[in-house]
Chain length 532, copies 2
Amino acid sequence: MPNTRRDFLRYVGIAGGAGVMYGTMSAMGLAPAAAETPAYTAPNAGDLRGRGRKSVAVLGGGIAGLTAAYELGKAGYKVTVLEARNRPGGRNWTVRGGTSETDLKGISQTAKFTKGEYMNAGPGRIPQHHVTLDYCRELGVAIEPFVNQNADAYLYREGSTALSNTAVRHRAAKADVYGYVSELLAKATDQGSLDGYLTAADKEALMSFLSSFGAIGPKVSGDAAASYKYTGTGRRGYEVEPGAGLEAGTPLPPYPLSDVLASGVGNYFSFEFGWDQAMMMFQPVGGMDRIPYAFEKAIGLDKIKYGAKVLDLRNTPAGVEVAYTNPGGQSKVLEADFAICALPPHIAAKVPGNLSAEAVAALAYAQPADAGKIGIEYSRRWWELDHRIYGGITNTTTGLGNMWYPSSGFHGERGTMIGYYNTGASARTYGAMKPAGRLASALEKGAQIHGPVYGQDVASSFSVDWKNVEHSEGAWVGWPSQTDDSYKRLLEPEGNIYFAGDHLSHAIAWQHGAMVSARASVTALHSRVMAA
Amino acid sequence: MPNTRRDFLRYVGIAGGAGVMYGTMSAMGLAPAAAETPAYTAPNAGDLRGRGRKSVAVLGGGIAGLTAAYELGKAGYKVTVLEARNRPGGRNWTVRGGTSETDLKGISQTAKFTKGEYMNAGPGRIPQHHVTLDYCRELGVAIEPFVNQNADAYLYREGSTALSNTAVRHRAAKADVYGYVSELLAKATDQGSLDGYLTAADKEALMSFLSSFGAIGPKVSGDAAASYKYTGTGRRGYEVEPGAGLEAGTPLPPYPLSDVLASGVGNYFSFEFGWDQAMMMFQPVGGMDRIPYAFEKAIGLDKIKYGAKVLDLRNTPAGVEVAYTNPGGQSKVLEADFAICALPPHIAAKVPGNLSAEAVAALAYAQPADAGKIGIEYSRRWWELDHRIYGGITNTTTGLGNMWYPSSGFHGERGTMIGYYNTGASARTYGAMKPAGRLASALEKGAQIHGPVYGQDVASSFSVDWKNVEHSEGAWVGWPSQTDDSYKRLLEPEGNIYFAGDHLSHAIAWQHGAMVSARASVTALHSRVMAA
């Protein structure tokens, strides 16, 4: 293991609880490191010695199933993964040239992306603190930055305000909102409105901060309205950029206060400093599916049955029995000591067998969410050439949701945008269209933001409507509650059957959630084996 | 040219001024692209036909000199670059294993960095809107993101406040400052303190923004103090992270309002949305000097004389005469029609010749600035393994200034940090030390922030004190004024001698500034030739 220090900390964490772990870290001088990813101690390879080789059937070769199979396999368990698709990863799905898919409505697409181009139809980004990165390190999956924030990307809000239906650069929106917020708070502070909450020292420090943060002007003696004015700043961008000689630059003028507030452009900002979204973010080089393929290699291809759709799942006195079809359409039965059911819950709920009615009801309690994505390959990187945007996200209310400029291939000949990543009603609207209609609409709405260039040099596209993707039937799930008995029931095994998936975590829709859930099930299963 | 559309826009810009250009862009639907980098039309290869081949001596093979030589060379000028060093780039200097340097105080260092490791001793980052990226594209220099912002890097302020001498994660500082600022402004707005500045609609929109931006609580009827409270948020980080099953996460508690304000942590934030510093930022793959070496190749190695120190520069009736030493120590003379002097101004001021006293005074008017950097190679990427920091900047008042975690080699075996990038008094303090002392101090102060791990696994280091680097004698220059006659004088040629460099731009200390200044001189020189 490359990191014995970290392992030691995890060991301490397991043995003594988080309090002991952080105390130990502090004593080691690592206090600032603060939060660790959830503690986990993998079963040891030698643990099963003298206990016989235990077998585990893993249902579903998505990230949860692969993580479980990998961790169990390292410890000497005999694992068999049953995966209905012909590839690993589940919703971790990278579409490349040649990828073919027929959805549940019978819509078939074959991607024509040029070699080297791809779209991550499912998860696309990894925060620094997710265990997903630890698996990338452990499995040798190369990573590169994912551009989750770009000052030169746009915000585009539909409506009838002065800034509606206009592409506003993030940097301009931010500078103006921060400028006006600083002006207002400086005025209120200076006029004594907040004296009940601030000491004189607080006020002085606050005014110093606001001056820097908002690029606001100074106090104008005897003129409160003219004091601390925000009148624009080069931070927001230039009409004429600073250049050679005497060209000091002409900043673009700020939008008026009322227009900025009415537009709602500021309501996107908190995304950029969210726990799971703040930069830095990462992606595997070459496509997100490098992760499941690395798992496949580490687990062993012989341990994974593709094209294996689960027909029946049942506890038996000896363990579990799983009936499935093989790719030839024949029905097979797999017997094992245990099963880990890592299917989406709403899919698992439909599998016949002898799960209790309560367990089935708990699985069916999950609410699948809609999400859609379209990948649009261009033969010219106009976003770099014409807009000087190198990666990042343009956010819009037009139904496209989020538009991702590619985070790799900078300065290359071509590139693939995520033309929309939308959810809810927008995802349903696009999902109801045929692929050609989705593209046409995406190009039309994208051109509102980017100009006619958006419709030019389009080389190919591929779109995914997750609600209608076979074996997934949704992008992720939500729960009416994650504290009630129904949810809790799935955290315990039913007989010899354990459940795992991002849906059984507080990192739903992240691979991290699938991984930590799988680890929790592995830990529970292994503890039971060791206690037997 | 890969981008005829862009060239067309530039042409329009040249012909009709910026207003015409933006009007044209708007008509083309490109309005949102807004600011273009300074318009520039390169001389055409055919322009000199019938005029004889003009020769230009370029003094200095830094970025300005290389840009000028490249642009002139493309147009058919006979260029000769005289460079005192044995490499191109000037302050664009990448130190690798084997790099040897003796500074003006006689301190010698030879870098022992492992193959593949390097430090950019000079410029290290490129914003999206700089022409530096255009040259990277044109010259085939591969680029990758430079991590200029990382929510998990630290802010460390010395002092006697509650948060002093503590490593505070950027994300925690940001969430707390934004939380309290939002609470205060919401309170002031709700109590009517800003009614003179805000309409009812403004107020409603502002309150909606503050709720999202600050993660603040709701109004508590009849209790102004309890209303809109900021009580912490998961955005700032967790004591126990959200995980599997029932683990919803325990956010770290916020720092108290007065402590946050007194600490000054918020005063760093505006850096992250500055015109030249906001993400995305880039760096060449493998080291910043990929740019000058690409220029060298494009210009032609035969056109560049290394080890050529300028001894004398003078206008002659026929053109210019430049005396220089060759690497063998012999004195040589180069005659040419024109010269572009792209030496640092304070160095150029010391070159004998027949420049007017006014020109020499103008050159000497530049004030060289101090800056220092140390590269510290580690054989273990502890910042990723122990602190979960993948690139970015820790900012500190300890004298280290800015500490850069590497933006490449993620998950590799080793990596090279910039242990300090400091300026002014801090740079002078470190510059006064010997390299071993600089390292010892950097390690001691770095450990205050990162714990003892900072002193472990150190493989090698190399430090640069720019004030004492031969041929540079400073990191960049400042001017008492960039609007007075002294500065303006250098924007005009003196006889057949033109001046160029980032010091003659409003992007001082950026390669962009050197490039646009060089382009301006090339344009002026070429216009003169064409008008003759």
